[in-house]
């Protein structure tokens, strides 16, 4: 079990974190591999958070925000989406699989979906195997340290 993948999930406080809470109150079981970090809005998530997580030993990073149109701060999730595309490219430059990060919209009532997502994403990361940095530039390493 201990060499299972490790996954950091950044969840916005309003929808997705509440959705994950609902998975709990509904007692829906999912993998302990996923570890949740709360941010107020998915728009707060910076590429450096993701890189930091990968550097600290995460094999994958899940980002969840409110569904389009539902962001508590109007458009934070759209901003997250834009940054997410940048981020995927950035991972490519480091020689990492873009699929190691995933962005999903999870509403406050989608506890079941969150649990399924946690499991399916973990499964996918398990398939990709443990993370292996190929070409980590010193520059970026310093940035995320």
């Amino acid at each position: 079990m201990t060499n299972d993948p490790k996954i950091v999930a950044f969840l916005c406080h309003w929808c997705s974190y509440t959705g994950a809470d609902l998975a709990g109150t509904s007692r829906i079981k999912y993998t302990p591999a996923v570890r949740i970090v709360r941010v107020m809005c998915s728009g707060r998530i910076e590429p450096s958070f993701v890189l930091k997580a990968l550097k600290e030993g995460a094999d994958g990073v899940l980002i969840c925000g409110c569904h389009p149109g539902d962001c508590h701060y109007q458009e934070g999730n759209y901003k997250a989406l834009r940054r997410f595309h940048m981020l995927k490219e950035m991972l490519g430059q480091f020689g990492l699989e873009g699929d190691r990060v995933r962005l999903e919209w999870v509403s406050a009532s989608e506890g079941d979906r969150f649990a399924k997502l946690a499991d399916s994403f973990t499964e996918e990361i398990r398939r990709l195997g443990p993370l292996a940095w190929k070409r980590v530039g010193n520059e970026s390493e310093r940035r995320v340290a």
Partner: protein, 654 residues
């Protein structure tokens, strides 16, 4: 304030909720060795008074200046523990919670894994709290106005309670009239008082109350803001009648040549294209059904217009939007009557004398299609009636839950049938559920009245006769599970009693960021201790939108929701977010990126200093600026990079 961190860690058992899965002792022991931790304890119920007092005592006797509680979701008890810290003189933002219940013990099967995860989550909180900074909270004024969504008995009662206190209410109802389901009933269990007699006065009171703005044919389109300060957009559908001019005389309705099935009467009678849903409607003014109106369909007619003296007909009327500002919102959108596939097993739609409970209510209603005479499709009065419980209810193929009111309303039907027709009544139930004040007595009374209550769920209703007695009748097939025999009971009429469903669209829930359960009903903040609160502060629940219930419970809940909304208004202020953004003037490069990104226009550019500045009153703390700032000058308080990094290290540390 920048003294050395002295952290106290508290791991909650939450009875067995956490301790049954997570080795809480081990979690506490692991934390003791984290830098800055002065003490680390575990306790049965941290949120209880002794739990909170323990924190307060420790702060005082051990000089703690940081507190971490590993327990339930911060959405549940962050406020509780912050309060305890504040009481002991520690800034509320020196507190951090680790969610080891909703995100761990309740979702993890393996105990070892759950314990490891709990350690990781708690460690993340400990590491982050070290770098916390004290924040000042501001107080924001609460608007006194309250929005009630839905005008059934729940919304009516909530609106009246709030209005009576002197506060203003906006009551938004999507139909042309208020009243909801209750307006369609004849009698109500268990007292059998006449529904109209108790409801109509309340409806009229809503219509004429100076503190209530009644908005029928309206729906909520958009909700912005937060507790105490919601900005709501309400869309009014075109009614094609100017209600300011209309006197409700009804001349137009009389002249309208178009007849379509009446929704209010479940299609058992006809209404006009210009109509008021029922005689006691509030407002008692008609609307035009565009889809049915000849003028809208063909461009000719306008008969109503010709006969309207006050010139209130307004074919040119358009949908419009109105913005309102409120401090609290009460959701009272009720339920949908179940009309799903389960009905088809019992011949509904195939046999005209198989009717649903709502059709029965209308047939029994003095102002209904038959003026209250229970008649079959051919006009005869039935000699025998079967009432079938649990249609689509307690059924994993359809609705797994028990709708709570159907046994009782079915018993009410038995009484009404007996009283009005003297017919034999066969009532088929699985388990008779009559808990409630006076309910068991009501059940008993129906037995005394001679209804045949048979324990067994009906499998089939058929018209296939196997003997002359069955010829031309409906045969109800069920097992009398107490006698152990399979019965075929020929009857004249079958009444199907389905349960209550949640609204299929969850638009209101989405607008309010409220969660709904797997059946679509709104989830309360806590099933026992916060039954009318929701996860969204300032949004309260009343009536069947939260789950099936009868009128007494609905009314009680409505009054509770109103009290909650009023408590907020009376307090007058709420603590506003201390977690705003800030820009370090030493670091800001003046690129203005954040100025354009902020959704609240809270960042302005100081041209003299050539840096951006945050207006903290406008900032809502989303952190978008912090994420975008290329120089790292913009930071989200309490969610600074360092905090997130600490947390990442923590959650990955085991």
């Amino acid at each position: 304030m920048s003294h050395e961190p002295r952290i106290g860690v508290y791991v909650c058992h939450c009875g067995v909720n956490i301790a049954g899965v997570v080795d809480v002792k081990r979690v506490a022991a692991e934390m003791a060795s984290e830098a800055g931790v002065v003490l680390s304890r575990e306790y049965k119920f941290m949120c209880s008074t002794p739990g909170q007092e323990m924190i307060i005592d420790d702060i005082q006797s051990h000089g703690l200046n940081r507190v971490v509680v590993a327990a339930c979701s911060p959405r549940m008890h962050e406020g509780t523990f912050q309060g305890a810290c504040r009481k002991a003189g520690v800034n509320a933002y020196f507190f951090q919670m680790a969610n080891i219940r909703e995100h761990d013990s309740w979702v993890t099967l393996d105990k070892e894994e759950a314990t490891r995860k709990a350690i990781a989550l708690t460690r993340a909180a400990v590491r982050r709290v070290r770098n916390h900074e004290p924040l000042e909270t501001r107080q924001v004024e609460v608007r006194k106005e309250v929005l009630v969504i839905g005008g059934g008995i729940a919304g009516i009662e909530a609106a009246l309670t709030v209005a009576e206190s002197g506060n203003h209410v906006y009551l938004v109802e999507r139909e042309p009239t208020i009243g909801g389901h209750m307006a369609r009933f004849d009698k109500t269990f268990p007292t059998l008082d006449c529904s109209a007699c108790i409801l109509t006065p309340k409806m009229n009171a809503v219509g004429s109350h100076p503190n209530i703005t009644l908005m029928t044919s309206c729906e909520v389109e958009e909700v912005k803001g937060f507790v105490g300060n919601f900005d709501v957009k309400v869309k009014r559908k075109a009614r094609y009648v100017d209600h300011d001019k209309c006197t409700g005389c009804g001349a137009c309705v009389e002249k309208c040549p178009v007849k379509v099935p009446s929704e209010f009467d479940e299609g058992l009678s006809k209404r006009k294209a210009i109509y008021t849903p029922f005689p006691q409607a509030v407002p008692n003014k008609p609307v035009i059904d565009r889809a049915a109106c000849t003028y809208f369909r063909t461009g000719k007619c306008r008969l109503c217009e010709r006969f309207c003296e006050p010139k209130a007909i307004a074919f040119e009327q358009q949908e419009s939007t109105q913005e309102i500002q409120v401090g609290a919102i009460i959701v009272a959108t009720g339920f949908e009557f179940y009309r799903g596939e389960a009905l088809s097993w019992y011949g509904h739609g195939r046999y005209p004398n198989v009717i649903t409970a709502l059709e029965f209510e209308r047939l029994n209603n003095a102002s209904g299609p038959t003026e209250g005479v229970l008649r079959m499709a051919d006009g005869r009065v039935p000699q025998s009636v079967a009432i079938l419980h649990c249609i689509g209810s307690r059924d994993k193929n359809y609705q797994e839950y028990c709708s709570r009111v159907c046994c009782m309303y079915s018993l009410k039907f038995a009484h009404l049938v007996k009283e009005k027709t003297g017919a034999e009544v066969f009532e088929f139930y699985i388990d008779m559920r009559s808990p409630g004040k006076g309910y068991e007595e009501f059940h008993d009374r129906i037995r005394e009245e001679g209804a045949h209550l048979i324990r067994g769920k009906v499998g089939e209703v058929t018209d296939l006769a196997v003997n002359p007695e069955e010829q031309g009748r409906l045969i109800v097939v069920a097992e009398d599970t107490l006698a152990g025999s399979r019965l075929r009971v020929p009857v004249d009429m079958v009444v199907l009693s389905p349960g209550l469903s949640a609204h299929r669209d969850s638009k209101v829930a989405q607008l309010l960021k409220c969660a709904v359960d797997k059946n679509g009903f709104f989830i309360e903040k806590h099933p026992k201790l916060a039954p009318v609160d929701t996860a969204t502060d300032g949004v309260f629940l009343a009536g069947c939108c939260q789950g099936p219930k009868d009128i007494p419970d609905t009314v009680a809940q409505s009054q509770a929701a109103a009290a909650k909304a009023l408590a907020l208004a009376t307090r007058g202020v709420v603590e506003a977010e201390g977690r705003t953004a800030c820009i370090d003037p030493e670091v800001c490069a003046g690129c203005k990126l954040c100025v354009s990104l902020c959704p609240y226009k809270a960042i302005s550019f100081d041209t003299a200093k050539e840096i951006s500045v945050v207006n903290e009153v406008l900032c809502k703390g989303c952190g978008t600026c912090a994420a975008a700032c290329p120089s790292g000058a913009a930071q989200a308080r309490h969610f600074k990079d360092v905090h997130i990094f600490n947390e990442i290290e923590g959650v990955l540390a085991l």
